[in-house]
Amino acid sequence: MQEFLATFFNIEVMRAAAPILLQGLRMTVLLVLVAVPLGFAGGVVVALLSVIRHPLVRWPLVAWVDFFRAFPPLVLLVFIYAGLPFAGIEIGAFTSVAIGFFLNTSSYYGEILRAGIESIPRGQMEAARSTGLSAVQAMIWVILPQAFRNVLPDLVSNTLEVVKLTSIASVVALPELLFQARQAQSVTYNPSPIVAAALLYFLLLWPVVRLLSRLEHKAIARH
């Protein structure tokens, strides 16, 4: 037991690693603050475009969304980070991550929001239009607010996944939480920094998971 604690919960190692872990955490938060709004905005655009039923809009959009949902995010990221320089496009790790996350998460948010918009009965749009609102106004003030509410659990769930996904940025040497933990581990020959990073993730995300459980059960109960 003593040995187990000294290996995985070594307080001294954790204390020594704390400053760089916190630096990593700051980078993770920054990544989230960039990736989530970008992906969400992209998702809104995808969802709004999917309202247009014209085949010339519809099929390219479905192809685009399915393409980026089929691609493992890490493969996309490595492709952007390691592949594009060969085309003479030199972008750093952070921009690569931002682009990769945008392409991936906007497709997911888009699918969720599309389902939300489709869950609103057509009569809502017709009623809104008949009161004199334009199609755009009806979308913004009548359809979207209800759509958001209907898919709120899915939106929160996807956001949680995006936050967790930022850990793959460590693969392209972006110094976020997991990367820093690995650095500390390789210097100290002790896995405690990784345990500490896992604890940080858990402490930060556990409340979200709890909230999500409750939202999901409530959504099912409404059925």
């Binding site: 040995e3 490595v78 930022t166 850990s167 896995p191 896992a198 099912i220």
Partner: protein
């Protein structure tokens, strides 16, 4: 060379692709094996946990909820790295393959339990009572009345979640599993040409695009009519 030719030469270099195709195919097979193993063990474990939870044994349920919360909150890559780099300094040294399989199995089990449990809760109480009043026991009610309905409700979210987690097999490249991404990255470094990555990307599309389209179909096929 025109810009287009240069682009093709760089990203779709036929010689480089031909040279590394066999290795990518090997990686592809390993990815499929890993993915299938994860899907089977993850779904079975998640199903068992949901069934155990429905018996309502308090201390056991707390453990299950903690397990589910833990593996929903931790990023899969963190779990993989922890098992692969952490365990050897204490006990057994699992291979990259085992680390990835174990991690993603635990993650999928957690999500599957939560989804199935949601499905079980969604079956109205009256169904339980009606089944019990016909003389069925608790287990018989669960297996013959509640679970079939719960499963049907769970299939669309379960399919999508399973697909999302299976794509995590690419994370195995971090711990030296010779799956597609890892083989392709190695080949890029070796040949100084990104065509193997293009090939790898195509391999992933071949594998996952049908799965994503299937998921879309499942979603409409199993949707409750309102």
């Amino acid at each position: 060379m025109s810009a287009w030719e240069r682009f093709v030469f760089t990203f779709f270099n036929r010689e480089v692709m031909a040279a590394y195709l066999p290795k990518i195919v090997e990686g592809f097979i390993l990815t499929v094996e890993l993915a299938l193993l994860i899907v089977i063990s993850g779904l079975v474990l998640g199903f068992l946990l949901a069934v155990v939870r429905s018996f309502g044994i308090r201390p056991l349920n707390w453990l299950i909820v903690f397990f589910v919360d833990l593996f929903r909150a931790l990023p899969p890559l963190v779990i993989i790295v922890l098992i692969y780099f952490g365990l050897p300094s204490f006990g057994p040294a699992p291979s990259g393959f085992v680390s990835t399989w174990l991690s993603l199995t635990l993650v999928l089990a957690a999500f599957a339990e939560e989804i199935l449990w949601g499905g079980i809760l969604a079956v109205p109480k009256g169904q339980w009572e009606a089944a019990r009043s016909t003389g069925l026991g608790f287990s018989a009610t669960l297996t013959h009345v509640v679970l079939p309905q719960a499963l049907r409700l769970s299939i669309p979210p379960l399919t999508n979640r399973t697909i999302a987690i299976t794509k995590g097999t690419a994370l195995g490249s971090v711990v030296a599993v010779a799956e597609v991404l890892s083989v392709a990255s190695g080949a890029v470094a070796f040949s100084s040409n990104p065509s193997p990555l293009t090939l790898g990307a195509i391999a992933y599309l071949v594998l996952f695009l049908p799965v994503v389209v299937f998921g879309r179909w499942v979603e409409t096929r199993f949707a409750w009519k309102r």
